[in-house]
Amino acid sequence: MAKAHSPIKLHVPEPAFRPGDTPDFSSLDIPAAGSVRRPPVHVSPEEIRDLAYSIIRVMDDAGAAVGPWDESLDSATAIRGLRYMMKTRVYDQRMVMAQRQGKTSFYMQCTGEEAVAVAQQMALEPGDMHFPTYRQQGLLIAAEHPLEEMACQIFSNPGDALQGRQLPVMYSFRESGFFSISGNLGTQYVQAVGWAMASAIKGDSKIAAGWIGEGATAENDFHSALLYASVYNPPVILNVVNNQWAISTFQGLAAGDSATFASRAHGYGLASLRVDGNDFLAVHAVSRWASARARSGFGPTLIEWVTYRVAAHSTSDDPSQYRPQGEASAWPLGDPVERLKQHLIGRGAWSEELHARAQEEIETEVRQAVRRAEALGTLNSGSKPSIKEMFEDVYKEMPPHLRKQRQQLGV
């Protein structure tokens, strides 16, 4: 009765290029800048399903801003954005150096992805709350959060607002609209939705922004987040940073080869856009669009930011083990700093000299801030946070058993 069938084979996705290969992204479908339409913020999700399979871009290859998503951002603001991105990069470089010098245990850069966090921060309002991953330091820098405080967290020194409790880069700065980062991937995404639900329950007008990497969209909390966002329609922006890699794992293992990450919103009836994440002007405009949509009560937007993780995953990682040399430079969406710089030069608002001078100023600023932080101590030298602090804040008030343990430790 049972028929004969040919054997089935398991499909195991592989990236197109591995060490030794020459990377070539020509098969990546990149629409021309300015070619993707701009719907009104109250558009219904069904009407824009196509936008999850495209890429919204503003700056063309020559650096000119074109098309319906060009908001003619004033030069002063754009220059501010450029400087924030430059500062983010310099800060990252400085901190990787500090890690190599043994001043901290660990660091994570966002090189090549600076536009995403910086431009979105600039598009939101004070009082809004970001629920970031470990690769959105650009949010803090664009919020002009004091660099020295950030560096103190990296050094786990007595100036660290988190008392040395957290792994470096796992910042928390409530006053800068920056929620406490969890080392557990994805968990904060649904919390962002909950924060936005609270804003709506209270009839507030603040919005939340959730952040997740394309690799971590595989986590179950991604589904919870989209589901609750769909059901309760709260004011939240759901950012997916698709930087192509999750440690050694390429985006295909998060099912990125089967469908875009943006399209994951469709099954929940959520609005979603796919955007050139290395195009500062596109990130700014789309973030403003999503923020206006949320703030006007039209609900969540999921945004896939297409970008590339240029640096190693972290200071513990060596990408030459799993991806080809030169993949970053072959990446067709270019570098966000370079692209905004060229745009501003094209506009006549910026120049190589101004850029070089800005770079120097920023390096000095970062160096000085980091020095001030170092003066308070680094992980392996100088003072440490007080040992007593280990037992604080486990609960609001220390219960007897913890007090006893603290006494056992003699502090």
Binding site: M129, F131, A161, L162, Q163, R165, Q166, M170, S172, F173, R174, F179, S180, S182, N184, T187, V190, Q191, A192, V193, G194, W195, A196, M197, A198, S199, I201, K202, A208, N220, D221, H223, S224, A225, L227, Y228, V231, E392, D393, V394, Y395, K396, P399, P400, H401
Partner: protein
């Protein structure tokens, strides 16, 4: 009031008193919960304060944490404790550590209510008592009421508490003080003094145990349903046990426990959860540590077996008065 009404009353009062309190969970809104603990609350306080959720426990706790960070005080229901595991990561990795990891910038003032324990022929997925999985997680408080009076007062304290509280409701006690004699007619709360519940707002503070029966021969540490099982066993064996209802497992009221065990010189722990690594283990460890020189016999544990909770044989699994009684007698001979 029965325990369901007492629990509902606590939420009702807190919803009225503090507009940051919100109540949600599966079937909690329009219908009022499968055990009816939230019946009528949506109609009274509106669907923005009391509402149904998708069947996604992880999301229930996850959104509650975000709401807590915003400034609300969510009191959420997990339909059965057996279904809390999908939310375990949000509870243990997130709610429990948020205050510490952010140095107090953010915290999660949640209450996570859930019915626990067996005795209703619910089989392995409607009978579990997972308290030990929460007491091992620093940053959580764990509460188990055993009667309507405490349930209301402890739930009010829990909702007002700024730390995440796991609030375990022994479902077999919802309607009366069940002592394990399933073959006898059940007694309603209206016949029990602790079924008398004031209408107004009051606290039973977290971290304080209650001595339910004074005694000199042996101390029994119990909570939830097992308080009544212990009472029955003491009555039936005639052994003069001092019965302590822990009420809060963490923070634990060690002072009351220590005083009692030093007085009686013997200690027994009774719980419905499986034995190995159950909360009874922690109690044994603490008691032998603090009362070693007063103990006249080993501390005994009478608990559920290390098996899934069976359906047909639930009374063979349940640590009823017969098992507690014979352990008591054995202990008095030691």
């Amino acid at each position: 009031m029965n325990m369901i009404e007492a629990i509902r009353d606590a939420m009702d009062i807190m919803l009225a008193q503090d507009d940051n309190v919100v109540v949600f969970g599966e079937d909690v809104g329009y219908f009022g919960g499968v055990f009816r603990c939230t019946a009528g609350l949506q109609a009274k306080h509106g669907k923005h304060r009391v509402f149904d959720t998708p069947i996604n426990e992880s999301g229930i706790v996850g959104v509650a944490i975000g709401m807590g960070a915003y400034g609300l005080r969510p009191c959420v229901e997990i339909q059965f404790a057996d279904y809390v595991y999908p939310a375990y990561d949000q509870i243990a990795s997130e709610a429990a550590r948020l205050r510490h990891r952010s140095n107090g910038q953010f915290y999660a003032p949640l209450v996570i209510r859930m019915p626990t324990g067996g005795g209703i022929f619910g089989g392995q997925t409607h009978s579990q008592s997972p308290e030990a999985l929460f007491t091992h997680v620093s940053g959580l408080k764990t509460v188990v009421p055993s009667n309507p009076y405490d349930a209301k007062g402890l739930l009010i304290s829990s909702i007002e508490d700024d730390d995440p509280v796991i609030f375990l409701e022994p479902k077999r006690l919802y309607n009366g003080p069940f002592d394990g004699h399933h073959e006898r007619p059940s007694i309603p709360w209206s016949k029990h003094p602790l079924g008398e519940v004031p209408e107004h707002h009051y606290h039973v503070p977290l971290g304080e145990a209650a001595v339910r029966r004074q005694g000199s021969a042996v101390t029994i540490l119990a909570y939830g349903t097992m308080v009544y099982v212990a009472e029955a066993a003491a009555a039936e064996t005639g052994i003069d046990a001092e019965i302590i209802d822990l009420r809060t497992l963490l923070p634990l009221d060690m002072a009351t426990i220590e005083t009692s065990v030093k007085k009686t010189g013997r200690c027994m722990v009774v719980h419905e959860a499986t034995l190995t690594s159950g909360f009874g283990a922690e109690l044994c460890a603490l008691v032998q540590e603090s009362c070693f020189y007063h103990l006249e016999a080993p501390i005994e544990r009478v608990t559920g077996w290390d098996t899934p909770y069976p359906h047909a044989l639930e009374w063979e699994y349940f640590p009823g008065p017969a098992r507690v009684g014979s352990a008591l007698k054995r202990m008095m001979e030691a």
